[in-house]
């Protein structure tokens, strides 16, 4: 029965993701660049949830793996080929190696100490990228493509301009279908669909991990590590495996960011970026399957759409009211939108942490359960 629920969830998820250019059209978010970010940060959050949601180990250092993934991908574009497959593979592998190293050190401790350690180590990676590793990262300028890059496999194709990333010839940026549906001008591009397929794959992997003995033991780590150890299970390699898996997801996300725009900078490794994925997972619902993706979409939507609301737009909103109310409303609302959207995000995040530890998914379930009353079991589909 559980199996059926999971299949249903996966199918619904896949449909929504594949139809996203249409679904998001009314919200103004259906342009390829933003949709791609939704998918990429969704992958990042899904990976992070495998560590944080299951084991409860709160890492503030996952930005490091995102950055490492981007650097690896760009190097692959420079040295080998503009095909994204080798680039993404290298991103995952290198991020995996990095997370093994950082995880090995920081998992010697648990709880708050673990969080602080990951924070320090990630910040160290960030500073390394700026200083010691400049030959690899190109320091503050960031790593970029150049015309004289070797690109062993496909350098011949460059004709005086920088090549773009592709998936066996399908250019990531290319819009392959540009219909007008329901009055909306839609754009379907390859880049989004590559990310979308990887997102669905990630979601499927996350379902499998959640339902596996491995996932069960990770959840046991969160609830009672003492008992787990006295049950004959060595929790350290389990948590390390979860850490590495989530690091590899972050690496994949970083690589995908580089396929959108083949440059990589150290600012992607700053710990506040790692804090952002924490926000996504907590906001959406830690430990739930669909929560992290929801959180990622939510925050990226905010970042790109909410931040563009300026006073002019606000005046438009409140135009029906008497002028003094209109002005007052604009005055009240404006600190929270536009450039101030971070404030809304921070406040919302605090509200969720304080009142809704299960995130938006739990909130939706609570509301759903209240509406449907008796049928409580059905409301749990998402979480179990």
């Amino acid at each position: 029965m559980n199996l059926m629920k999971d299949r249903l969830l996966l199918i619904i998820f896949a449909c929504v993701v594949l139809a996203a250019p249409l679904i998001f059209a009314p919200t103004g978010a259906a342009y390829p660049d933003l949709l791609q970010r939704f998918a990429i940060y969704g992958i990042f959050a899904i990976g992070f949830n495998i560590l944080f949601g299951l084991t409860g180990y709160l890492s503030f250092g996952h930005a490091a793996f995102l950055g490492v993934g981007s650097y690896s991908a760009v190097w692959m574009f420079k040295l080998l080929s503009m095909n994204i497959v080798p680039a993404l593979l290298l991103s995952i592998v290198i991020a995996g190696v990095f997370s093994l190293l950082i995880g090995y050190i920081s998992l010697r401790r648990s709880g708050i100490y673990f969080s602080i350690l990951t924070l320090a180590l990630a910040q160290m990676c960030y500073n390394l990228a700026y200083s010691v590793l400049t030959p690899l990262t190109n320091g503050e300028t960031g790593l970029q493509l150049r015309l004289d890059d070797p690109r062993i496999l496909d350098a011949a194709g460059d004709a005086g301009s920088l090549p773009s990333t592709n998936f066996f010839g399908l250019e990531m940026k290319e819009v392959f279908w540009n219909p007008t549906i329901f009055g909306y001008d839609l754009q379907f591009n390859w880049g989004y669909y590559v990310c979308a397929l990887l997102l669905i794959l990630s979601f499927w992997i996350s379902i499998r991990i959640f339902r596996s003995p491995f996932g069960l033991i990770l959840r046991a780590v969160k609830t009672n590590q003492t008992r787990l150890n006295y049950t004959g299970i060595n929790s350290r390699p389990y948590t390390l495996a979860a850490f590495v898996i989530s690091g590899m997801f972050a690496g994949l996300a970083g690589g995908l960011l580089a396929t959108m725009d083949p440059l990589a900078g150290a600012e992607r490794m700053q710990w506040t970026v790692g804090g952002e994925v924490v926000l996504m997972v907590v906001l959406g619902g830690m430990g739930t399957l669909s929560g992290p993706v929801l959180g990622a979409v939510f925050i990226k939507y905010f970042e790109n759409i909410f931040s563009k609301i300026n006073d002019g737009v606000l005046h438009g909103w409140f135009a029906i009211m008497p002028e003094w109310i209109e002005n007052a409303m604009v005055l009240i609302v404006s600190p929270f939108v536009g450039k101030g959207w971070h404030l809304t995000l921070g406040a919302l995040f605090m509200i969720v942490v304080i009142f809704l530890p299960g995130g938006l998914v739990e909130g939706a379930q609570k509301i759903g359960a209240k509406l449907s009353g008796a049928n409580k079991r059905a409301a749990k589909v998402g979480i179990e």
């Binding site: 596996s212 491995f214 046991a220 969160k222 009672n224 004959g232 299970i233 389990y238």
Partner: protein, 252 residues
């Protein structure tokens, strides 16, 4: 040669000699109770057995293998399970999941990445867990949240989690501490039931004389870090040293 052999174990905390040359031999199949007044060193001794503390000197052999210096999960994998004073269970998981985890530990060892197997498709594990819950009379609570169980049921669940691993030795650390008389009697019945159906060696650390004399086949008395007497329950009851050190403070 007993299944558990403790020789000359010493442990100091600063100026306090918590354990002073403790020797203990537990025969296979017996129910060995370790009793003693407060502060006698019972908990310290137990913690030395399960790898939480490292004694200063001495040796602990279980089933012919040295135990000292091993981590808790390694000791468990040798066949030692432990019941805690307050039940340690996975309170965020369901009862069924609680019992399945030790099954996995027993079959797959201390670490195995099986991230793509499905828990619910694992017939062997499911059956083991279901049988155990049935045996413990908890099958109807299978899908309940472990954290929502009553205290007695939590204890029962913890026992189930230990027993499903088919341990060679079960350590019980004051299994009835803080329980009402009725719950205590239930626990005694449960332990008796376990004794009838399985041949597991047990070491019980206990305060309650009623529990000790209902269950134990052998009793060792620990006082001020030393074993002052050992024998059958009847012998211990009449032992003058024991009366002096211990029974003075509790009624038998």
């Amino acid at each position: 040669m007993g299944i558990l052999e403790v020789q000359n174990v010493n442990k100091r905390f600063g100026g306090l000699q918590a354990l002073n040359n403790v020797n203990l031999s537990v025969t296979e199949g017996s129910v060995h109770a370790l009793i003693g007044p407060n502060g006698a060193g019972k908990s310290t001794f137990l913690n030395c057995l399960i790898g939480k503390l490292k004694p200063d000197t001495g040796s602990v052999m279980f089933d012919g293998k040295p135990v000292l210096g091993k981590k808790p999960h390694e000791i468990n994998q040798l066949g030692v399970s432990r019941v805690f004073q307050t039940p340690e269970i996975f309170s965020d998981l369901t009862v069924f999941e609680n019992v399945m985890i030790p099954c996995f530990a027993h079959r797959d060892g201390a670490f195995k990445v099986n991230a793509f197997a499905r828990v619910l498709r694992d017939k062997e594990i499911r059956q083991q867990a279901e049988h155990m819950l049935e045996d413990m009379g908890m099958k109807d609570k299978m899908n309940a949240h472990a954290g929502s169980l009553s205290r007695g049921d939590k204890r029962r669940l913890e026992m189930a989690m230990c027993l499903v691993q088919e341990p060679k030795l079960l350590l019980l650390d004051e299994p009835t501490a803080g329980m009402a008389r009725a719950d205590t009697n239930n626990t005694i019945d449960l332990l008796k039931h376990i004794g009838e159906t399985r041949n597991i060696t047990k070491v019980i650390i206990e305060h309650d004389m009623h529990v000790v004399f209902s269950l134990a086949t052998t009793i060792s008395v620990l006082a001020q870090g030393t074993i002052i007497a050992e024998g059958l329950p009847e012998e211990i009851k009449g032992h003058p040293k024991v009366r002096e050190a211990y029974l003075g403070e509790a009624e038998v």
